[in-house]
């Protein structure tokens, strides 16, 4: 939501202002003398926009000012209101990931991870995409079982795994510039067994109330 103290457009010459917005109310920042404090204003918001510009230029050296401005505004997130651009939010709230992805012309793989038997989506499944050239990218599925991994143009080996399911590997999944490759994955539930026992003190006689954590699985 736009701050009450934020300046609004248009400019005296009728230009759209601001061009974009960044968070600037109660932003935690480091302060002189060692420590952190919350502060508000353009001193908090503009470093985020500048940081995203720097991130884009380190990803793509030689990116021009016009290209940087174009990427910042075209990838900005549209929230709260629907009439973009406008003189409160400009083209929207700057978005670091989308801005960098747009200048790198990254592609992605996306899809839904489901149970092989019932077809229900599996949330919190992990997806790893390994490129033949040695780079990798990973993601965790959301509540609807959906995942999205970004990567440079290459062929990827996609591994989907989730607790209680047999892992599944898809070979030679392509990532193509500015394109989403769709790959749904079905995971077969593993058969189950039981573990049971008692939790006691050292003598083995006094039962204890304890928390039991299933820490690792392989």
């Amino acid at each position: 939501m736009i701050a009450l103290f934020s300046s609004r457009g248009p400019s005296p010459w009728g230009d759209l202002k601001p061009q974009a917005v960044a968070p600037g109310v109660a932003i935690l920042s480091s302060v002189p003398g060692g420590g952190y404090r919350k502060a508000s204003g353009t001193s908090m918001a503009s470093p985020q926009a500048a940081g995203i510009a720097a991130l884009m230029r380190s990803a793509v050296p030689g990116l021009t000012i016009a290209q940087t401005r174009y990427a910042l505004t075209t990838t900005a997130a549209h929230a709260i209101v629907t009439n973009y651009p406008n003189n409160d939010y400009g083209w929207g709230r700057v978005d670091a990931l989308n801005a960098v992805v747009s200048v790198l012309h990254t592609g992605s793989i996306s899809g839904v991870v489901r149970r092989g038997d019932t077809g229900m989506p599996i949330p919190y499944a992990s997806i790893q995409a390994d490129a033949r050239v040695g780079t990798w990218s990973n993601a965790i599925t959301d509540e609807a079982g959906r995942y999205l991994v970004y990567g440079a143009t290459s062929l990827y080996t996609l591994t989907a795994s989730a607790f209680g399911y047999a892992s599944h590997i898809l070979f030679a999944v392509p990532i193509v510039t500015d394109t989403i490759t769709l790959r749904d994955v079905a995971l077969a539930p593993l058969p189950a067994g039981r573990v049971s026992g008692r939790v006691t003190d050292a003598s083995g006689t006094q039962a204890l109330t304890a928390s039991l954590l299933i820490q690792m699985h392989r």
């Binding site: 060692g34 420590g35 607790f163 209680g164 399911y165 539930p189 593993l190 058969p191 189950a192 067994g193 039981r194 573990v195 049971s196 026992g197 008692r198 939790v199 006691t200 003190d201 050292a202 003598s203 083995g204 039962a207 204890l208 109330t209 304890a210 928390s211 039991l212 954590l213 299933i214 820490q215 690792m216 699985h217 392989r218």
Partner: protein, 127 residues
Amino acid sequence: MTITVHGAYSLALPIGTHVLRVQAGAHRVVTAEVTVTAGQTVTQNFALPDAPTILLLDSGRWYNGSAIHYYRQALDDLNYLYDEWPIRDVTVDLPTTATLRAYDGVIWSAPLDSPGLIGRVVLSAIF
């Protein structure tokens, strides 16, 4: 995944090898590796040795000089449970003696000060 156990437990788990970690207040942590096979029940009992209750105080936090990870690592390696009390702001985060007395032992990490330094007089001289 964490569950609360009252004395006895029975869990359905997918086949494979799992590491189970059991912890209870005033006891040392015990871990065990169990291998689950389809349709079978494995028995795994946990006997937890007694341990002191420990409070880990991090006084390094208020001047961004925390060295608490050394203590965490040592206590974790020895399977001791502990509570943590970070002093982020010396004006509000100081523990009372009642808080400290509730524990069998208090480890006060103070890399660049000392527990005795955290008093009103010394602080007013610093700020």
